[in-house]
């Protein structure tokens, strides 16, 4: 006191002696929540995280985080049905973020800039055999290789890719894209042997001295229905048609073709045939509401001039026409026959009413449990009833058969095998709590409509196999990524740091986030209230 100048009584910042943290009854804590897009993604991508880097223009980092979970961004950016967007919280504000387009942009960026995966630092010396080089098998191969295991893939077809090559038409997935993403996996040291159909799994495993096996043989056999066939009306199956177009580039087929079924394969066949000059008509026993095909794909088909005969089943076929019975839906939505018939002129029928697994090789493996058209697996570990034999993709999933799910199952199987090879049982990581829109602060986000991918003109699209959807430009990709609300995860907006009346939050610097200073935090809760993305919780203090 004596040393102070005239009339000076208090020294600056002496209030620091007063630890106001003792007033607190609630304590702010950071919570890392599960954004709805991530939760929905069948491949388990951390979408919010890679959008964060894409928004900064750091495409390589974004791509690296994306490929932690999924090695096929350029393919998935084209063929994934992006159910994530249906769950996107931005949808409550204006429109969902165009996640799929940004994924594709990043995938194409990586191909263009020749980005490659890092080879594993160390080889474990363990050997894994994968049967089937489809999306599930290749995804598993990629992840196992990252762990340092040596991986060999056997493929019955002439080239790897499975349904991505023989099921998905070129206009949706150009093959140079597929080839580039597969090459990146083989560059890591994964070996793929094509034209090698496995007959005896056990023998193959023993012969190669493998420590574990994954069955990823897919569901490549088209289902059949009995259509009483008169004369010479062609009845073909969808996968053969798509496979033949893939290998020969064309198919000898009639002009008026009925495609029988309402799933994505039916739509793929119809749109492919349209491009070859045929006039396909889809015949489906229920209505549009009940149709399982992806809506965007179906809209595109209709826009391309493909006709649909709803509520119809084919009961017979003659040379130039089909006998159609009209159906009506009962209360529970099932189609019931009406006894009313009509003729539909058509020279051929393509059956696209479902796909089954090839049981012939599965039956030979002793003790392998197969139920309702799928190998039975432990949902946690993806292990089959035969120890050391795992399964993923369509062959192990009867209900949901998409490329994306196969990729996710492949990843999980790889993680599970990695644990198995070290003698531990794999447990999936518990999920974080949901990032709900109600817990966010929408006022803070600026308005922005979704950029729509420019589409090829309809006229051009229907007679070539050129890719239908162009990618986003860099400009639009950044814009789209910046529309992400960063649900439940910090985006470093500095709001908590700014709005604290007690200066009790420390900013640690770019990329490092923030820290609560509990010495002074009074627990007022303004930071939690004003956090745009709901990343702060107020937790009762133990008093």
């Amino acid at each position: 006191m004596m040393n102070k100048a005239f009339a000076v009584t208090l020294d600056p910042a002496t209030s620091l002696e007063n630890h106001t943290g003792s007033w607190r009854t609630l304590r702010p804590e950071n919570v890392f929540k599960l954004p709805p897009c991530n939760k929905q993604c069948p491949a388990g991508e951390n979408i919010q995280q890679w959008l964060y880097y894409a928004a900064e223009g750091n495409y390589e980092m974004a791509w690296r985080f994306l490929t932690e979970n999924n090695p096929f961004p350029a393919c998935m950016g084209r063929v994934c049905y992006h159910t994530c967007e249906g769950k996107c919280n931005r949808g409550f504000l204006d429109e969902a973020v165009g996640i799929n387009s940004v994924e594709r942009f990043l995938g194409d960026y990586a191909i263009e800039h020749k980005l490659s995966f890092k080879r594993p630092a160390k080889d474990t010396g363990k050997k894994v055999l994968i049967i089937g080089a489809g999306p599930g098998g290749l995804s598993a191969a990629y992840h196992l290789r990252r762990f340092g295991h040596s991986v060999h893939v056997l493929e019955a077809g002439a080239e790897p890719g499975g349904m991505m090559r023989y099921g998905i038409p070129v206009y949706r997935l150009p093959r140079n894209i597929l080839d580039a993403e597969i090459a990146r996996i083989t560059d890591m040291g994964v070996t793929i042997e094509c034209n090698h159909k496995v007959e005896d799994i056990e023998a193959e495993k023993k012969k190669g001295g493998y420590d574990a096996v994954i069955i990823t043989t897919g569901a490549g056999i088209s289902s059949n229905v009995d259509i009483p066939e008169g004369d010479t009306n062609h009845i073909l199956n969808a996968l053969n048609v798509l496979g033949e177009i893939e290998t020969k580039g064309n198919i000898e087929i009639a002009r008026r073709v009925a495609v029988y079924g309402g799933g994505n394969t039916a739509v793929d066949v119809a749109r492919s045939l349209r491009r070859l000059g045929a006039e396909p008509i889809i015949v489906y026993r229920r209505n549009r509401d009940k149709m399982p095909a992806n809506e965007e794909e179906m809209d595109a088909a209709i826009a391309e001039g493909i006709q649909v005969k709803w509520l119809s089943t084919i009961t017979g076929a003659t040379k130039e026409s089909l006998k159609i019975e009209k159906m009506k839906l009962d209360e529970s939505g099932y189609p019931q026959p009406t006894g009313e018939y009509e003729e539909l002129p058509a020279d051929a029928v393509v059956l696209a009413i479902g796909q089954n697994v090839d049981k012939s090789i599965l039956d030979k493996l002793q003790g392998l449990k197969v139920e309702r058209d799928a190998i039975v697996i432990d949902p946690e570990t993806n292990e089959t009833s035969v120890p050391g034999v795992f399964a993923a993709g369509d062959v192990a999933s009867a209900k949901d058969r998409t490329v994306t799910l196969a990729i996710g199952m492949g990843k999980n199987t790889a993680r599970s095998i990695h644990a198995y090879l070290r003698g531990v049982k794999y447990k999936k990581q518990p999920k974080n709590e949901d990032a709900r829109f109600e817990d966010m602060h929408p006022w803070y986000y600026t308005d922005a409509p979704k950029t729509v991918r420019p589409e090829l003109e309809l006229a051009r699209r229907t007679n070539t196999f050129d890719e239908v959807q162009y990618g986003l430009t860099e400009e639009n990709a950044i814009y789209e990524a910046r529309r992400c609300l960063s649900c439940g995860n910090c985006m470093e907006c500095d709001n908590c740091y700014g709005v604290c009346p007690d200066n009790a939050i420390r900013k640690l610097g770019a990329g490092k986030g923030y820290e609560f200073n509990y010495d002074y935090c009074k627990g007022c809760g303004v930071c939690a209230q004003e956090c745009p993305c709901g990343h702060i919780h107020m937790v009762p203090e133990k008093i």
Partner: protein
Amino acid sequence: MLDKINFYQTGSNTVGNRLINPSMRTEQASVDRPNSLTCGHRACQGCGEALGARYAIDAAMKATSGQIMVVNATGCLEVFSTPYPESAWRLPWIHSLFGNTAAVGSGLAAAAKVRAELNGDSVTPRIIAQGGDGGTTDIGMGCLSGMFDRNDDVLYICYDNEAYMNTGVQRSSATPPAARTATTMPVGEEPGSDWGKGKDVPLIAMAHGIPYVATATIADLRDLETKVAKAMSFHGARYISILVPCPLGWGLKSSALTVTAARLAMETGFYPVYEAEYGQITSVRKIRQKQPVINYLQIQRRYAHLTGKKADPNVLARLQAMCDANIEHFGLLGDEAPQLNPAAIQAYERSKKV
């Protein structure tokens, strides 16, 4: 490429934003902001006044490279920041009385000028006088008007929490109609604070024709910082009123709602945010997402008698009409320009002198 895309997730609505150029971020976003009012002060949890004071003084410190001295009127800000023997201030700060703050500011400004001349200093410290609405609009009004009259080189900041908070929430001439305070209880014909009373000090300041007058709230930080910086670019008398919700006196449903309450005051039109130079309004902060006044009232217990079962819908309608009038007069929506207001003749002389 990155510079070409002028869309940044939360844009300028948040305190910082990692996607925008650092020079476009607020002062509060910087790691080394001055924290002029630092930790350990004894304001209530979630105090809007503590937040507003740090925002404003930090911005002034930045604008003057730290050459600021503060005079503080009696009131919460003074009491909670300097209980003997501690001070939460990190800059020269003085407290004298409740009603003389503007006068002390005038004196300090004159002294600072003389001292700089005597010492041959190249910089003269700038003076900020500050106080609550009671200390400003009521008891300090005479000194304030005198400071405006002489056009003394002082920035006066009023932290408006719409009542005498430090002595237990008594009505001031800044208390809005119908609000409950300890002296305007929700009883009788027209419960709460009277209608047809009170004064608009920003408009009174403008009528003095001083160089700069602005209103701001703690819910629009960029706007607030810009206004303080702009005020420091003028010499002469300047006045900024900052709306600082008081969780205790307003009966906010939670201490967390301070910033939200200020935002609703802006978005409903209840508190018009604008700036004026030499008596003329020069810009208006537009409402971003318009809200009905009820959304603002219902988070505050001082208006509980307007939203409960026994509430009189006419009172609510009158408050809504008040907001609508603000929106119209100040042109708070769309592209409308504010209505012209006449300026004092002194404004003409003063604007020529600069």
